[in-house]
């Protein structure tokens, strides 16, 4: 498969929403289990890092530490929920449950199925962000109502991480091998993307790497502008980066999965 087939625009129909709906129905059936983690996660981060470490750090660039990390908690939730849904979750549906095989025996095409999975990953990011927004608002660590603007960004950011995840899923030889991108890419990113301390503290090379290779850097930067109500023109650059990378990754993810599943 050459580059032009990998980057060819896939034909996706509105039937992709049937796949999205299937995942939503399953999610809603066990909603208690599914809504609990983001609640707890927001509390834990705020208490341990915000209040705990915050006692010593006090503030960063004039912002109370707990307020500084609040957008990072949201951004990491966007990343984790979409990424893990479209790696382990999608892999289980594809490989163990043979769900994609069952779906493509209907008018759904493999492009529809993968597009539905990506939309679902993005939806999960939005739902987690919504729940965490409630918790963070209770703690009064973000500026309202401008912070609500993180929701649409969570949707596109979720789509980006879902597509990134699906690219890994499309080439992984086994479910265990999915641990590599998780530990070598996702975990470092959650620490070194301007999340818990400013990138400027590190040698400049770290900043360059984070800005070019870590999608999370851009999400955190945008979220922080909203939750601290400190807008800057650089948001345009961050949004452009996210939009272009999301578009490319979505196309790649669908074409790579087609290559894996249609033989």
């Amino acid at each position: 498969m050459n580059l032009s087939t990998l980057l060819a625009i896939p034909r996706v129909t509105p039937r992709a929403w049937h796949v999205w709906r299937r995942n939503l129905l399953v999610f809603v059936k066990t909603w208690q289990v599914n809504f609990f983690p983001p609640f707890v996660e927001a509390f834990l981060y705020l208490l341990a890092i915000g209040v705990g470490i915050g006692t010593y750090v006090k503030e960063i660039d004039g912002t109370p530490y707990v307020n500084y990390i609040a957008p990072a908690i949201l951004a990491i939730a966007v990343m984790n929920s979409a990424f893990f849904e479209c790696t382990y979750g999608s892999y289980v549906r594809m490989y163990y449950q043979k769900a994609f095989d069952a779906m493509i025996a209907t008018p759904l095409s493999i492009e529809d199925v993968i597009a539905g999975e990506l939309l679902w990953g993005a939806t999960k990011s939005v739902m987690y962000v919504l729940i965490m927004l409630c918790v963070l608002s209770l703690f009064g660590v973000l500026v309202l109502p401008i912070s609500l603007l993180v929701i649409p960004v969570a949707l596109i950011g979720g789509l980006m991480f879902a597509a990134l995840a699906m690219c890994f899923t499309s080439v992984t030889p086994s479910i265990d091998a999915l641990n590599y991108p998780s530990f070598l890419f996702i975990t470092p990113m959650s620490l070194f993307a301007g999340t818990f301390f400013p990138l400027a503290l590190l040698p400049p090379i770290f900043g360059y790497v984070a800005l070019t290779l870590f999608p999370l850097t851009h999400i955190v930067a945008i979220f922080r502008m909203f939750t601290l109500a400190a807008l800057s023109w650089t948001m345009v650059l961050h949004l452009t980066w996210i939009a272009s990378v999301t578009a490319i990754l979505c196309v790649l993810a669908i074409n790579l999965m087609r290559r894996r599943l249609i033989v």
Binding site: H18, R21, L25, V26, A99, D101, T106, P107
Partner: protein, 299 residues
């Protein structure tokens, strides 16, 4: 319904389906027989529009699977070899969810679900999780799922694999009922009694090629004669048969003679060759199958 000319599928240097031609007529039950690895499932996948062909022509409902996959798939029902029911839903949920993939409206889907659960005798299992079903129930539910779009063409890949005799008979009876309602059915199997019982016409495949095609009784007559004389293999019997100039085949510890004059041969054997054990029986599709595809183990 389906017509294939010189249909080919290759994976790299391996040719799974090697230029097969066949056509399936409306309203018939058409079988694909063959040992493991013969290319039956690959052929099914090309018909189902989930695996693009490498060569030849193929049309389903006079449409090209490469050009109109969604239109074709909307009109076919598929029972796959592997059980791929959705474990996150109940029996009913599986049918309702699957109906949605066909853009079937919710009220119609509910009506069909009721009818189909009754059709495969699973009404009382409506709200049961998939993992709680027996193997036979799962296969029946998959059959119901394949019918959720009222397909004109039903494709079944090893429909009764792993089923107990009761469940197999139920599935056969249901397939006959569907045929009576006007459905066209294509199935693969390596149960020869199943093929003989169900299929109006069938092809026998091996190594990606079609070896024979015809109605089961014709195939039996053509390749295995009317009857088979089966004798225990001993040197005397073999020398004897050679002396009589009768063609025979050795299978394990038995010697098989296909013939139209079974009585005569049996009598001569009894009189001259002192067989330990002997029987005569009508020839079956199994005799044809083993004759054409050999007795070598596959896989």
């Amino acid at each position: 319904m389906i017509s294939a000319q010189n249909l080919t599928k290759s994976y790299g240097t391996f040719t799974a389906v090697d230029g097969v031609s066949f056509s399936v007529r409306k309203g018939e039950i058409f079988g694909f027989l063959g040992p493991n690895g013969a290319g039956k499932t690959t052929t099914m996948k090309m018909i189902q529009c989930v695996s693009p062909r490498s060569g030849g022509t193929l049309s389903v409902f006079d449409l090209d699977p490469d050009e109109h996959p969604a239109e074709i798939k909307r009109r076919i029902g598929v029972v796959p070899q592997e059980t791929n029911l959705d474990p996150d839903f109940t029996c009913e949920g599986n049918l309702l969810t699957y109906a949605r993939y066909f853009d079937i409206s919710a009220p119609l889907a509910r009506r069909r679900t009721d009818d189909l659960l009754a059709f495969v005798q699973l009404l009382e299992k409506r709200n049961v999780a998939i993992e709680k079903l027996s193997g036979g129930m799962k296969r029946r539910l998959i059959l119901a799922r394949a019918l959720v779009n009222s397909p004109e063409l039903l494709i079944l890949d090893e429909p009764t694999i792993g089923l107990d005799p009761q469940a197999r008979h139920l599935v056969w009876e249901r397939l006959k009922a569907l045929q009576a309602q006007g459905s066209t059915i294509v199935l693969t199997t390596h149960y020869l009694d199943e093929a003989a019982r169900l299929c109006d016409r069938l092809v026998i495949m091996d190594n990606g090629r079609i070896l024979e095609e015809g109605a089961p009784p014709d195939l039996v007559r053509r390749h295995a004669g009317e009857e088979i004389v089966e004798v225990d293999k001993t040197d005397t019997v073999i020398t004897c048969l050679k002396g009589m100039d009768v063609p025979f085949e050795v299978a394990g510890d038995a010697v098989l003679v296909s013939t139209d004059r079974a009585h005569e041969i049996a009598r001569i054997l009894l009189e001259r060759c002192r067989p330990r054990k002997m029987l005569t029986r009508p020839a079956t599709l199994e005799d044809v199958f083993l004759k054409l595809t050999g007795r070598r183990l596959r896989d």
